[in-house]
């Protein structure tokens, strides 16, 4: 069955006052997102516009007027965007549907192309599959056969959009296993 990732956030009324922060890799995007949201800024992780898209990319959409203070905060946390540009085209929305499937005591959650499976009785991660970026086999090696509480998080050790998708699936697994 598919479930939405919750209520869709209201879209901004206009894009003319929005900018995007571009980073070297997805790990920096995730770190920046955490820092900025913790400070209360309304930012969104999105897909980059075609003109700056090179492959496995994410950007952070932010209110342009707050550029200086946001950059300062990121620098305080040793995070440096490679580009800061105004939004001049429609940005892509990340996947917002999750697929869940149960096999006896096992629960599998799929987000986009990434799947994680846990034993609900023991809360052990028994498999990670899917994806195509090179951190997927690495993440699987680091996470499989570990307890949900002890496994490293994809957002902490991954680099790519596949890692970001796996984090979404992992979050849902944690939510379901805590019910």
């Amino acid at each position: 069955m598919f479930r939405s990732l919750g209520k869709k956030k209201a879209k901004p009324d206009t894009t003319v006052d929005r900018g995007i922060l571009v980073f070297e890799n997805t790990t920096d995007v995730i770190r920046a997102e955490n820092v900025l949201k913790a400070e209360g800024w309304k930012v969104r992780v999105m897909g980059p516009p075609p003109e700056i898209r090179s492959g496995c990319d994410l950007v952070i959409e932010f209110p342009l007027i707050e550029e200086l203070s946001m950059i300062r905060k990121l620098e305080e946390n040793n995070i440096k965007p490679t580009q800061v540009v105004p939004v001049n085209s429609v940005l892509l929305e990340p996947v917002d549907l999750l697929h869940e499937k149960e096999y006896d005591q096992y629960l599998m959650v799929r987000a986009a192309n990434m799947k994680i499976t846990v034993d609900r009785d023991t809360k052990m991660i028994v498999n990670v599959s899917g994806g195509g970026c090179p951190d997927v086999p690495y993440l699987a090696g680091e996470m499989v056969n570990k307890h949900l509480d002890a496994a490293p998080l994809p957002r902490d050790i991954g680099y790519t959009l596949c890692a970001y998708a796996l984090q979404i699936a992992y979050d849902r697994v944690v939510e379901k296993c805590s019910l």
Binding site: R110, P134, P137
Partner: protein, 285 residues
């Protein structure tokens, strides 16, 4: 010659190329030992087992360590760009890799300079970047799962992570997604769509469906799609046409999975061990 390209999930693993040797639960390439658990090593192991069964030479591999930062992949993209124009590879299977459209297009330009055009097979990151760059139709075979097929079917998505919900929704049937992928030229000449049912299709539509044996527990197991890509690539390298190879590979992979008596916690090497009896059953009975 039959070659496989992909990554090893180790930061320090150097760029390595050579003929693969399968030894226990490891593969050996250029004297480097790699555990077969999932990803490209699982694909290589499945291909090597298949070639050995068929009495054919072991595949050649191009590997590099990369844990997702793309550093190793950049080296291998560059190496392939230099190596391929003078090579005589007949079958080239491309697998887990960092999508980088610019570097990929340079590599593809090198493929086009080869004296004989190889049969091109892509899965995982190479399939993503082929679609991202508008080069899907250059390939002969893609092996997506249902989620990846939805990505191919979404003409606006540059990565599966951005597949739009109305396409990703499970109300969309696989046949519709296949049709849409071809409609926007985002599919290879053939598709082998792996899942509860395996679909073999081309631009004209679905040619074959393989749906037995059906082991539901195979879906969560990391590496079962990789073994399918390895087996079908080996069968093509051994001389089968793509359609026949796809149908037989789907049957072989399902049978190997069934022989392993899988649970969602099974690891892929247990399935690779069952490929020889599955090959025997499908090819000789």
């Amino acid at each position: 010659m039959f070659a496989l390209v992909g990554t090893v999930p180790e930061d320090k693993f150097p760029l390595a190329s050579g003929t693969v040797v399968l030894e226990g639960e490891e593969i050996i390439v250029a004297n480097k030992r790699i555990a077969v658990n999932r990803g490209t090593p699982a694909m290589i192991a499945a291909a090597a087992v298949t070639m050995h069964y068929l009495g054919k030479p072991a595949p050649y591999c191009f590997l590099v360590g990369d844990i997702g930062d793309g550093v190793g992949c950049k080296l291998l993209y560059k190496h392939l760009e230099e190596y391929l124009p003078s090579s005589t590879l007949a079958t080239l299977a491309l697998h887990y890799f960092q999508p980088d459209v610019g570097l990929f297009k340079k590599m593809l330009a090198a493929v086009k300079k080869m004296p004989l055009r190889p049969t091109l097979i892509a899965d995982a990151g190479f399939m993503y970047v082929a679609k991202m760059g508008g080069d899907a139709s250059t390939f002969d075979l893609f092996t997506p799962d249902a989620g990846e097929l939805a990505y191919l079917a979404d003409e606006k998505a540059p990565h599966p992570f951005y597949t739009r919900g109305f396409i990703l929704h499970d109300e969309n049937l696989i046949p519709d997604l296949i049709k849409r992928a071809y409609q926007y030229n985002n599919a290879a000449s053939y598709l082998l769509v792996k899942g509860a049912k395996d679909y073999i299709a081309n631009r004209e539509g679905i040619m074959e469906i393989v749906d037995s044996p059906n082991e539901e527990a195979l879906e969560p197991i990391g590496g079962t799609g990789d073994t399918l890509t390895g087996v079908v690539s080996a069968l093509i390298a051994a001389g089968l046409d793509i359609r026949t190879a796809s149908v037989k590979a789907a049957k072989i992979n399902r049978l190997a999975g069934s022989y392993a008596k899988p649970t969602p916690a099974t690891q892929v090497y247990d399935i690779i061990k069952q490929i020889p009896p599955a090959l025997e059953s499908v090819l000789n009975h």
